[in-house]
Assembly symmetry: C2
Homo-oligomer: 745 residues x 2
Amino acid sequence: MDCKFAQALEWQVGYSPDKSKAPSKFVPAQVPGAVQLDIAKAEKYPPYEYADNYKMFLWMEDRFYTYLSSFKKPVLEEFERVFFFSKGIDYEFEIYLNDKFIHQQEGMFTYVDIDITDFLKEENVLKIIVHPVPKMVKEPTDRSQAAHVVKPAVSYGWDWHPRLVPLGIWDETGLMVRNRSHLTDIYVSYELNNSLDKAFIQLQGEGRNVKGLTYSWTLKDQSGSTVLTQKGEIAADLFTGNPIVFDNPALWFPHDHGMPYLYTSHFELHDRSGNVIDAKSQKTGFKRVRLVMNEGAWKEPSTFPKTRSVPPAQFEINGKRIFVKGSNWVNPEIFFGTITRERYEELIDLAIGLNFNIFRVWGGSIINKESFHELCDERGILVWEDFPLACNNYPDDPHYLKILRQEATSIIKRLRQHPSTALWCGGNELFNDWSRMTDQSLPLRLLNSLCLELNPTIPFNATAPIMGMGHGHYLFVDFDGKTEVYKTINNARFTAYTEFGMPGMSPVEVLKKIIPAKDLFPPRDHTAWRDHHAYGAWVGDTWLSLNDIESYFGKAPNLETLVQQSQLLQSQGYKAIYEEARRQKPYCAMAINWCYNEPWAAAVNNSILAYPNIKKPAYDTISASCRPVLASARFSKFQWNEGEDFFADIYVLNDTFKEVPSLKISVKLKPAKGEEVIMKWESPVAEPNTNVAGPTVRFRLPYWEATDRFEVILDVEGHSEYSSSYILLYKPAFRANEGTRVLNM
Amino acid sequence: MDCKFAQALEWQVGYSPDKSKAPSKFVPAQVPGAVQLDIAKAEKYPPYEYADNYKMFLWMEDRFYTYLSSFKKPVLEEFERVFFFSKGIDYEFEIYLNDKFIHQQEGMFTYVDIDITDFLKEENVLKIIVHPVPKMVKEPTDRSQAAHVVKPAVSYGWDWHPRLVPLGIWDETGLMVRNRSHLTDIYVSYELNNSLDKAFIQLQGEGRNVKGLTYSWTLKDQSGSTVLTQKGEIAADLFTGNPIVFDNPALWFPHDHGMPYLYTSHFELHDRSGNVIDAKSQKTGFKRVRLVMNEGAWKEPSTFPKTRSVPPAQFEINGKRIFVKGSNWVNPEIFFGTITRERYEELIDLAIGLNFNIFRVWGGSIINKESFHELCDERGILVWEDFPLACNNYPDDPHYLKILRQEATSIIKRLRQHPSTALWCGGNELFNDWSRMTDQSLPLRLLNSLCLELNPTIPFNATAPIMGMGHGHYLFVDFDGKTEVYKTINNARFTAYTEFGMPGMSPVEVLKKIIPAKDLFPPRDHTAWRDHHAYGAWVGDTWLSLNDIESYFGKAPNLETLVQQSQLLQSQGYKAIYEEARRQKPYCAMAINWCYNEPWAAAVNNSILAYPNIKKPAYDTISASCRPVLASARFSKFQWNEGEDFFADIYVLNDTFKEVPSLKISVKLKPAKGEEVIMKWESPVAEPNTNVAGPTVRFRLPYWEATDRFEVILDVEGHSEYSSSYILLYKPAFRANEGTRVLNM
């Protein structure tokens, strides 16, 4: 949807306890934005991200908000009409023009597009009344209050998100002047043939008063050459073009398996004299995506009584079975109205640096603005899109189903246009104990049905995890205080790991911005550390997990050391999981961690990036683990003892569709001083998209002086780009004359 | 749909190798029936059920069939029209009247209903050309040829069904004279409130030329009293009545949990003068059915990484979580056109005698005629209805999807009217290796979507088994030659056992009708035994499993003894599974065996009834195992040795919603002579719908003379209706002076 705003609108906002009462005062409003930010700015609130300041915003949940904007009637040609247009108003609202009611809506993802011409005066006042935060139940004040709305559940509070529920105009909004005959949507629908050398295209258009008019359409390639054209007459406001066969389309690939090739579709609407009276340009691309059965999965189950085989969790893109590596994307801002294209761009570019090829847009969060999807199209990142349902039992209630149908229809019709869209998913963890939806839940049957109707070429899953797909673990050491991530992941067998986390502290400079200086060290519960998810966030002493850190390193002498220790566990833990998931290929086909980014600065979080876009050290280790080709080692544990037989399984991982030649790999152990070469291995050729399982190295650990850790290096001769490095802990045997060991970084 | 045929039609049928060529001769045709039966009768074929005679029918697959019927134009009032009406023509066909093309259809479940008035002459010839058996592939000649049609896959050959693929007119067919304004469908749609004391009814009607007419509707209870009425005007040919609230409806229950209460709906169409010009009467009933989570299932999985919890497999009927006991229903005749209401009735009444409350109408088979569903409504048997997809990979092909949409729509609109309809299911074993459909398969997404649209109050499963649901085993002894049914089922943990089988031979008198006398004993492969599924049917030496029989009993001296041995394994094996499934309640909620009946006489089959309706001995043991209340014993194996400690776990099973008082149970072992009372147990009270796990009895087995088996009797004092009895084998220690033991029944 191209937004050509005729007139910038200036907005003010005010609040009142009930709808019938007008606000007593108005303050300037940022649009798009959120009412809370406008109030906070006007009333000079301290930043909500510091300490527990966010609690000052809580009263704002239960107010009615009135946006006002005054404007002069635009100068119109006879054939022109004025529209009030908004890409998103959150969540339930009514619109009045000059005190005349013109629209009511529940739902933040359905565009508002109203012809207001007939209600215009010379001077006009547009008024939008936004209702308070919807709450299904009064208590408890948590995500369960959102179980009846198509609005991000995360805003109601999560283990990494404070309770802050945005309201207000959150996407582009303004007045549009258009010809009375105009376009509202053009969809270049297509299906590829089996050999992928023909696209069967059919244009699907929507407009107003376009019946009987004509159109011309062109498709241009990246060099700007026109490769297809079509002209036609429009039969009705909902219209389709004649089928077109496009021979040998350049296919859109995720960036690591080809080029994310984009074409430009340009559609022009002509009046009866042949003049162009409206046009829509948009990028499009051609790909075929399927979820196919994971290799070996049909053979299971093998005994009687026999249940079903697992559902498929292997992406096939344009005929290639690719291993997807990526992360769960959450809204990058608490007040998502403030998200800009630039904000998306910096985050998406960082994902390319991680060698990621997929984002799962997590269901607790928003459906992102258009620029997110445009950037994923351009950069070549697949998008797995959850509908906005998460960790709740969304009901079979007729009103909820009606709003869900409206919102899902808007979402599907917008996102199906993007070549990056690769999977629809009903929402997050809906088939688990804490949500208690089932395959019989009507909201999920409805979503399946709408996706089938509107976008049948893209796969649909009811939720994640589905059978055979794993979520978790989210800790370096399990609740039992001893089972480490190495053992958990090495013993697991799943078709896809679509959430797994490792907590890591934010950098010290971030912590200093959110935790009062007096509370910075040592971290304690019931301080700003708790408000920022270090304590009481999930199970046990999450997310700081101080017990686990201290069990490896003892008490840290200062904040800097503690942060380094926490970040070391995060980076090595993530490395263990990403690489083991890849080693489990081809049965396993996805490694998607929890989570990528965060919408405010948490003190500790599973995220790879600290708010807004600061790399934690895990960034570099994950980037290395996700290289298309690398030498990789599987470990059984983190801490090793002097005199013990150290062992590790050596692999060559190959996610490319090229053969990797024989590699000369030296396995080295490197303590503080010197290094030991413990094996040289000449790997066999790795077939395309196939790993090679190599030998298990074994080496009795000697006494190393003054070191509490060692590096394991897989040095690839002549191919340092495939070399890998891991850090493990080392514990020398107790020697009476040495006294207490001091553990330092 | 009431069929008021104005005129009986006499039919003839002929065949030719291609459509353009008229048949060279015609023979009388039975309608409804099948073209094969007409040809066979005319050409005096021997019975297809004897030996391998069915092979004589195979050539008929590849012919075109022409049905002819001549009739005089009926005398018509000015306002009357003549319709050609058929409830089912199998499978692809064209209809001509006086050589004028009037209709073409693919699909045997969609009614044909064509106004032929304008084409009528005084003397008329109706011609129906039926196409050859559809085959997706030429080879292999098995069920995979049916992977593109909405036609029973079983006809193409199965492990208990010969290759015989019916064609032709298979349900009621004739001419109807109707007012030009008439009704085609009346659906009493309703939803019950949570407390089940209000039904929100909305009439949904379809007619032709009914716009602007009026109607009156009454609902009568079983005593004939009118409990509801409505009058209204009809707004269009597709119309709905105003909502009606029905207070305190008597609910429809399966027979073992209440009354299958039926109301009578009577809808009258009035012309503008108020005369009744059409009417529809039908039974209806009110129930709420849900699949809810099995008890304890939300707690799983309990470790990380964590996949989803199982889908629900617990029926809740009118708020009661009931354990369903029943069987897989297959078409009772190979040529299903010959099935009559009486044939259904005898089979359904036998199921009541088995204490069954559910049939799974298996997806390899037909959608049954109306009388099947009427009888299930009346007798109070739940119907789990598979769509006609089984053990194939039905494709995402546009043509198949179009026919599936048409047929499924017809099926849903017909069966949703029946209170017995309790579950829609996409088809049989589609998510297993031998079928290879997945959650992404468009046919299953389409069926889910159509059921949601047309019948959202009934649950839908994509297939059986779903996750957590078990199919199999189908043998007394596993393929390893040692693991018995007792161990397999005792070690299993499933939410529902929706297929499990035990092969048992047909009675001797049946065998004599199908196997030539010279081949009767001993059974050998590559004789009529193979044609009747004793050899080469499924895996291993199924279904006769002679090795297993002989490993228990040695070589049988005659056919009678062999049949008894086979039937003993079947009856005891079934008893073990039905009762263990019930003992696993509440986690387990279904026990539905494979299979109930058979469409021709198999020599050996898992069926409880031999064709057409002959009880095998398993009938009585299963009936006992499915009593609402019984004393039950769990065994670990079939054969016990002298000197060994016999043991068994004793239970009281209660599927009623009443408390079962304390019972005095004597556990007795009864060899050929005498009996041993090995325990007396006074059971605690069994709460409603709750089992009681009792003690494990132990007893060292003595030497028993002249016996190779013993009975285990659970004798319930004063309640012989709860007493149970099992048969186990006994093996005395070898005594040199005894010589060879002779094992007899």
